[in-house]
Symmetry: C2
Subunit: 143 residues, 2 copies
DNA sequence: AGTTGACACTTTAGGTCTAAACTATGGCGA
DNA sequence: TCGCCATAGTTTAGACCTAAAGTGTCAACT
């Protein structure tokens, strides 16, 4: 979100930079994930289900910070690609990776996380920790 | 983008927090801007054109970090609402706010920027400046 | 003048996401 | 048992965005 040239306070400038960094990185991630034939949203599902298998769709939505409706659509796509499966249990679905999904996740997740982490290496380790501290504080202040 | 539970390095955690903060804030901004009957994307155009009137669509796209095609669509919408106008000049368009657009921008932009800045007040001023410094460094390292 | 190329904008198809309406389904009290 | 309600998931309409193809226009060269 852009600036007016009138109010150039540190908070506002920090906000603009953050949006720039995130949107640029997400665009780069889109390119990077193409090698696995995954979109960033699909990668997120794979990584999340790979890390803690068997969540309900609601849990998945909460962890990914998106709506149930969106999760439903994403899973439709991933099921069509035979990467995940829904297993009905009571009135909810539990989500698991298929064998194909596990194979892809075990390759793509570490690779992409390394790539992601490397985009931060412009900062010293001490700076990375400080950035984390500040973002954590900010995040918590917003509930 | 979510975590694997395997690799919890500071860079990765910082990245996840940043995405959280940005996506939460953007969702809140969507709500906040509804009072002006503006979407965040429309607000960005208004703020940008208000700050430096008369850009070409290409310039606007560069500053907003979006594609020309997207700018074109956004301007279609804003022109329909009589908030901006395209003035043909040579082979490009220069974009200006209409009188209505100026009236709205002069109210909405300061108000929203104040709102935005307030979301940062969980951090001390010193911390805000440090955050800005770190983000700037990160941003520059990515071109 | 006619051709070519570069550039600025527009259009289109498709993916992502949301809010809100809709459809089960399982449990609970009357 | 029946009906109700809360919960889990699905569907739909619409906004946003991109990549890529399409259109138009200016200018420079022949």
């Amino acid at each position: 979100m852009p600036r007016s040239h009138t109010l150039q306070s540190a908070p506002l400038l920090a906000w603009l930079r953050m949006v720039r960094v995130v949107s640029r990185t997400q665009r780069a991630a889109t390119d990077h994930l193409r090698q696995f034939d995954l979109t960033p949203a699909q990668f997120d599902v794979l990584a999340q289900v790979g890390a803690t298998p068997g969540p309900s769709q609601q849990e998945l939505a909460d962890r990914l910070l998106v709506t149930q409706g969106n999760v439903c659509q994403l899973l439709d796509g991933l099921e069509k690609k035979k990467l995940v499966e829904r297993r009905r249990e009571g009135r909810s679905n539990r989500i698991f990776l298929t064998t194909d999904g596990q194979a892809l996740a075990s390759q793509a997740v570490p690779e992409h996380e390394t790539w992601q982490a490397e985009r931060m290496t412009a900062l010293e380790e001490e700076e990375q920790r400080e950035l984390l501290r500040l973002l954590r504080k900010l995040d918590r202040s917003q509930q």
